[in-house]
């Protein structure tokens, strides 16, 4: 059975929402990359808007527009992925609790600290009583959700990935070296020669269907995940082995979209393996647009779907260009040379 991505939306630190293309002009950041949020007032009454946290609103709005674009009444299943979920609400409840020494607390931030509040909010909106789960497996969170969707539990599946970054969370992670110690422009990410990545956030949703229609954006050919610590040649072998499952070899891949994040420790992996093992493919990257976060591969998938459906990737996101049409796109991400994920897309045949 073939599975198609019929629609997608992404709210990110770039002008991506409701734009249907990878932006030509990049917004520059020097520290953390924050979402460019839509006007939430257009979606929620003011009182409600003030009560719900930003990540829930962001995910909810992104889902609404994805569903609108797909032209369906409501999804049959909601499958989401997020590394840390609602960080701001968690921090608020935690700080209030600790600073008042477990004093009198309000329930709102506790209720909204639960990661699956986004999926629940969407289910409430559409009275969607079907399958509804949230994966929280760090950098594999969204990939686990997407792989689950490929098991086809329902006809129209809404799949989403999201994470948020707060100033407080940013400083904590910077402290332990996850992010760069000094301000670093996202535009220079690929030239970085220091450790630590650049911090970001975002929400991207996709409507998956097995119906062949004229407006499908891409066919989702496969998702592969491995949590094994692999060296560079093992990674290349694993990638080749994975795509061989659908009868492809490295030369068939038109473009590889990799998870470069500016951390010199692991960016070498992408360079070494991909350039040596897939030398006839065009190479692209995307985290200079969205920053690094657990569910960043959801933005990577949005980027890849745009590449296939528009047959276009702006120069700012190309590492090398073999001037091939973007018919088959392979999205690759890893974390700590462990936790590898691959997603394969192709232009749908109509």
């Amino acid at each position: 059975m073939k599975v198609y991505i019929r629609s997608t939306e992404s709210i990110s630190p770039q002008k991506t929402f409701l734009r249907n293309e990878i932006p030509e002009n990049i917004i520059e950041y020097n520290t953390l990359l924050k979402n460019i949020c839509p006007n939430f007032k257009e979606y929620f009454p003011p009182l409600l808007s003030r009560r719900i946290n930003t990540l829930i609103k962001t995910g909810h709005v992104c889902a609404i527009e994805t569903i609108n674009k797909a032209g369906i009444e409501k999804p049959d299943a909601i499958i989401t992925g997020s590394g840390l979920g609602c960080v701001a609400s968690t921090e608020k409840f935690l700080n209030d609790m600790l600073k008042t020494n477990e004093g009198l607390l309000a329930p709102t931030s506790f209720i909204q600290s639960t990661s699956n509040a986004i999926g629940a909010q969407i289910a409430l909106h559409y009275t969607c009583k079907g399958y509804n789960v949230l994966y929280a497996q760090k950098s594999l969170s969204f990939d686990c959700a997407l792989q689950d969707a490929l098991l086809r539990i329902k006809d129209n599946e809404l799949v989403g990935g999201f994470d948020e970054i707060t100033q407080e969370n940013y400083l904590l992670k910077q402290n332990i070296g996850l992010y760069k110690k000094k301000p670093f422009p996202n535009l220079n990410m690929i030239k970085s020669n220091s450790t630590g990545s650049i911090a970001g956030e975002g929400a991207s949703f996709f409507l998956l269907s097995d119906q062949l229609t004229d407006n499908n954006l891409a066919e989702l050919m496969g998702v592969w995940i491995t949590p094994s610590k692999l060296n560079n040649s093992e990674i290349a072998d694993w990638i080749k082995f994975s795509i061989a499952n659908v009868g492809l070899k490295p030369g068939d891949i038109d473009v590889i979209v990799s998870g470069f994040n500016g951390d010199i420790k692991t960016d070498r992996i992408y360079k070494d393996i991909l350039v040596s093992g897939f030398s006839s493919s065009t190479h692209a990257y995307y985290k200079h647009l969205c920053g690094e976060y657990d569910a960043a591969t959801a933005f990577g998938l949005w980027f890849s779907v745009m590449a296939v459906s528009n047959n276009c990737i702006p120069v700012h996101s190309l590492l090398s260009d073999k001037k091939r049409d973007y018919n088959k796109v392979l999205l690759y991400n890893q974390h700590d040379a462990k936790y590898h994920s691959l997603t394969l897309l192709q232009k749908p045949k109509s």
Binding site: L94, I111, K129
Partner: protein, 396 residues
């Protein structure tokens, strides 16, 4: 694609025992593990009782052979302890264990450690990494040398029921042939204070499905089942304990925290699970209910029972009066209890129950039943966000 899913191992740690055997003894002798909070250093420890495990983190570390200096979250200590037992119970070792998948379910991951260090880290920033739900699952995999598929589900209090049904689906689709699935959560100030703000903590030991129930007691622990395909069992020459015949996930789509008055989500979840197992309501011998002891949950779940089992409500009970509501661990621990019900032909009573809820007019099991054959057991878990999940275990 249509292979059967078997349970080949179980592991549990809770307020009523360190392992499966001790849990079974406590269930049989009807001894509740709910009592005074002694380990969690919360300001409210004298106001509420809980199903706390009476070991310090240092003692737990020693039990599982991990250096206490590593200061890994309590949640991970409990999880490793139960997952280890599940592997041993399934006879998994060496390369077989390595090639097994692991799926965790948890609500707040490493929160117990985070809340100790958050305001004043004193140069110990390791909580930043150990905070995330997925990290706890990684720690289990690392400690038990498990190298297969890995993931973690967080759907609040139904997390580990969903991790078990995810494991079943992955096996069914041939993505894995053996998965250790379950859940874990330790007590934390965060959840104790959180549930306090919701005004659903009981001032006394909880009594699910009782007319005068006053809320829930929190608990802590971990529970796992080892799920396996027929091919994998044959290859390893192992006998399964029982079969996982039905599983389902639905959403109530009613409210972020409350359940619908007619139990719509629970109704859909139980009905779908029975359909998958190809069972009629009369086939269910026992239901291990979600039964938290809150006004809202028990009425909603009971209404769903009423709608489904109009020909007669099967034996049912909540085992939360033994161990408290263990949140992300609940589905895993209660799956183990459901497997034990089949294996031992026992129905564990719903402790502290006195009077039925008027709108329902039926009662849970009050005394241990040990003189019937149990073929099919249903286990429910529901959570915030309208998440409702059901598992059905069956005798082979």
């Amino acid at each position: 694609m249509n292979g059967r899913i078997y349970v080949s191992g179980i592991g549990v740690t809770s307020a009523i025992g360190d392992n499966v055997e001790q849990n079974l003894e406590s269930l049989k002798s009807q001894s509740s593990g709910i009592g005074k909070i002694q380990i969690l250093n919360s300001k409210h420890k004298d106001e509420y009782e809980a199903g706390e495990i009476n070991y310090t983190n240092e003692e737990l570390s020693e039990q599982i052979g991990i250096s206490a200096k590593l200061k890994i979250p309590r949640t991970a200590l409990l999880a490793i302890k139960a997952a280890k037992e599940a592997c041993e119970s399934a006879g998994l070792e060496g390369a077989e264990k390595q090639n097994t998948g692991l799926i965790g379910g948890t609500t707040v991951g490493g929160m117990d450690k985070t809340e100790k260090h958050y305001i004043n880290p004193e140069n110990d920033y390791s909580f930043i990494k150990s905070h995330s739900c997925g990290y706890i699952t990684e720690l289990i995999a690392e400690n038990l040398n498990i190298k297969g598929y890995i993931s973690t589900l967080n759907t609040a209090c139904s997390s580990s029921t969903n991790s078990i049904l995810t494991g079943a689906r992955l096996i069914k689709h041939g993505i894995a042939d053996r998965i250790i699935a379950g859940g874990f959560d330790s007590l934390s100030k965060f959840t104790l204070n959180g549930f306090k703000t919701l005004l659903i903590l009981s001032p006394e030991k909880c009594k699910p499905f009782d007319r005068n129930r006053q809320g829930l007691n929190l608990g802590e622990g971990a529970g796992f089942v080892v799920l396996e395909s027929e091919e994998s069992l044959l290859k390893r020459g192992k006998q399964p304990i029982c079969e996982l015949t039905g599983y389902s996930n639905a959403n109530d789509a009613y409210h972020q925290t409350a359940s619908s008055p007619n139990g719509e989500g629970p109704y859909i979840s139980m009905t779908k699970a029975m359909k998958l197992a190809n069972f009629q309501p009369g086939d269910i011998d026992y239901i291990n209910a979600h039964g938290t002891g809150t006004d809202n949950n028990d009425l909603s779940e009971g209404m769903a029972f009423k709608r489904i089992f109009d020909g007669g409500i099967p034996y049912f009970s909540s085992t939360k009066p033994y161990i408290g509501h263990t949140l992300g661990a609940a589905g895993g621990i209660e799956a183990v209890y459901s497997v034990l019900a089949i294996k031992e032909n026992l129905i564990f009573p719903n402790l502290f129950f006195k009077n039925p809820i008027e709108e329902l007019g039926f009662s849970p099991v009050k005394k241990l039943i040990d003189d019937i054959t149990i073929k099919n057991v249903m286990s429910n878990s529901f959570g915030f966000g309208g998440n409702d999940s059901t598992l059905i275990f069956s005798k082979i």
